[in-house]
């Protein structure tokens, strides 16, 4: 069976600056690929290239066995959806939630007009929001709720690939866990392939099956999760992993970093 997504030799350049440097990557069906990298690594650029927002200067991408051309078909757009990082800007402030969901459902003819209301309610329920939300506007919700609405819209068109670009980074920790659980359960229920981007290795560990590391536009490593976290191949991965602040378990010798008096 061919992979869900294949990225072949994709490069993106802005003048002298190379944002993506000959990226080769495969995503297998119904798995989660965790994409890690620091700022400037190109992970967001890669996400946008896959979602069709940026056209690569070189290379091609295959969704299943179809090549994704510069001008994608409606069907191709439907199959790849994206959730963005900033919950404050991810929903049109002038559209009600009802409008937001209805537009997606109707444009891709997921249901016909008479079924839109019902389906919208079901979608909201799936992301654990009340139906009352339909009449409201984005500014009436908290960041975590807005992300849920964005997720509802993304899954409403029944995509096969979902890209999440740091969806929990701007959220409070108390909300992060519930949003991560939501991703996990949706992936199971809807048989999604998930590309999850985060700079937080703890989050990556919780959600990924495979981990890919990017640095300065290049793919440094792609490994299965357990292997990545215990025996990473590249020294850069090792550097990232050791930099994660850990909960202290015991008093290290000499006391914590305070000068003794």
């Amino acid at each position: 069976m061919e992979p869900a997504l294949q990225i072949q030799n994709v490069s993106v350049r802005y003048g002298d600056f190379t944002a993506l440097d000959h990226i080769e990557l495969k995503l297998q069906h119904h798995t989660t690929l965790g994409l890690v990298g620091e700022s400037g690594s190109g992970k967001s650029t890669l996400a946008r290239v896959i979602a069709g927002l940026i056209t690569p200067d070189e290379g091609q991408m295959l969704l299943g066995n179809q090549t994704l051309k510069k001008k994608r078909s409606r069907e191709q757009y439907k199959n790849i959806q994206m959730i963005f990082q900033n919950p404050d800007a991810s929903l049109n402030p002038k559209h009600s939630i009802r409008q937001i969901l209805a537009e997606a459902l109707l444009f891709h003819r997921i249901v016909d007009r008479s079924q839109v209301e019902k389906r919208s309610r079901e979608l909201l329920a799936r992301v654990q929001l009340e139906s009352k939300a339909l009449d409201k506007y984005p500014h009436e919700f908290s960041g975590g709720q807005r992300q849920r609405i964005a997720i509802a819209r993304a899954i409403s068109v029944e995509p096969s690939l979902l890209i999440a670009d740091e969806p929990t980074s701007a959220l409070d920790v108390s909300v992060q866990l519930s949003v991560l659980e939501l991703f996990n359960s949706l992936k199971r229920e809807l048989n999604l392939t998930l590309l999850f981007i985060s700079h937080d290795l703890g989050v990556i560990h919780a959600i990924s099956d495979t981990v890919a590391v990017m640095r300065q536009g290049q793919l440094v490593e792609v490994s299965p999760k357990e292997q990545f976290f215990t025996r990473p191949e590249s020294s850069y991965s090792r550097k990232l992993l050791s930099a994660v602040p850990k909960m202290p378990k015991s008093i290290s010798s000499g006391g914590l970093y305070e000068p003794t008096l």
Binding site: R48, A51, G52, L53, R72, R74, Q76, Y77, K78, I80, Q81, M82, F84, Q85, N86, A89, S90, L91, N92, P93, K94, H95, E103, A104, F107, H108, A125, Q128, L129, E130, H139, E140, S142, G143, G144, Q145, R148, A150, R153, V157, L171, D172, S174, V175, S178
Partner: protein, 288 residues
């Protein structure tokens, strides 16, 4: 079912006040709105309030000071000033509004196209904008007036040529910055065509600020209409117009100063009302 993550942020004072609540808190909107409402009510109901015809001359009752019969007195041809004043309001205000319609729509559309698409679309539209900006409004109006005769037609034509620029510029800037926001990217990943994104997604966000600009622009246009009337190349008599009223009353400045002053005051009043409404709307939409 429990809503997750419902804690409102601590700093947000009133999370969801109704529109009326918010409007009532903005003094400029209330005052300006009230002023404008008075004007509109008078303009609409004048046929029922006043027994006089604005063009009805009564030479035996010329230049009378304000009295119970003529609330603002009469002019040099015995016409009731109050009646003329309000009928002039109808004329001037309706021209002001009508002249703005096409430039408003055109400017917003061009601005959105330039800001959303960028690149060569933006270059072309910006080139056009920069060219037309050089055209001096009054000079063109005068030329058009000489070419096609005095009257409101000259104003409409001229304003259609140059009036859209200010909207295009503001909206272009807004569109360019909105384009970078994630909700536009979401619409794009949905596969929506550009025009649909512009009209259904961008437009509602751009409209509030465009309306604020409209209010200020209307003040300038009103002054232009009145000035042209004053100069005699605007609205032609006997249609009442504040500009011609001011000009007519000039000769009587020493004896019946109110003939010029009152229409002048009316222009100022309307200008203030519109400015206040514009400020108030800006406040209203900013707080959101």
């Amino acid at each position: 079912m429990k809503m997750i993550g419902t804690e409102p942020r601590l700093y947000e004072e009133h999370l969801n006040p109704t529109l009326m609540n918010r409007i009532l808190k903005i003094p400029s909107l209330l005052v300006g709105g009230a002023m404008f409402a008075v004007l509109i009510i008078l303009a609409v109901s004048i046929p029922f309030i006043s027994p006089y015809d604005p063009s009805e001359q009564n030479l035996s009752a010329f230049l009378q000071p304000p009295s119970a019969e003529h609330w603002l007195g009469t002019d040099q041809l015995g016409r009731d000033l109050f009646t003329r004043l309000i009928y002039a309001a109808r004329t001037d205000l309706s021209i002001m509004v009508l002249a703005e319609i096409v430039p408003f729509c055109m400017g917003i559309l061009l601005g959105m196209l330039a800001g959303y698409y960028g690149k060569w679309v933006d270059k072309i539209i910006s080139l056009i904008t920069d060219t037309f900006i050089a055209f001096p409004f009054y000079l063109i109006v005068i030329i058009v007036a000489f070419a096609s005769g005095a009257g409101e037609r000259g104003i409409y034509i001229t304003f259609m040529l140059v009036g859209w620029i200010v909207f295009a510029r503001v909206v272009r800037g807004l569109s360019a910055s909105y384009r970078k926001q994630e909700w536009v990217a979401s619409a794009q990943t949905l596969g929506l065509p550009g025009i649909r994104i512009i009209l259904r997604h961008l437009l509602p966000n751009v409209l509030p600020q465009a309306v604020v600009v409209l209010m200020t622009d209307m003040v300038g246009l009103l002054v232009a209409i009145v000035t042209l009337g004053y100069l005699g190349i605007g609205i032609a008599p006997p249609t009442p117009d504040w500009g011609t009223m001011i000009s007519d009353g000039q000769s009587f400045i020493t004896t019946a100063w109110w003939l010029s002053a009152v229409p002048g005051f009316a222009v100022v009043y309307t200008g203030i009302a519109l400015s206040l409404v514009g400020d108030g709307l800006a406040d209203l939409w900013r707080k959101k």
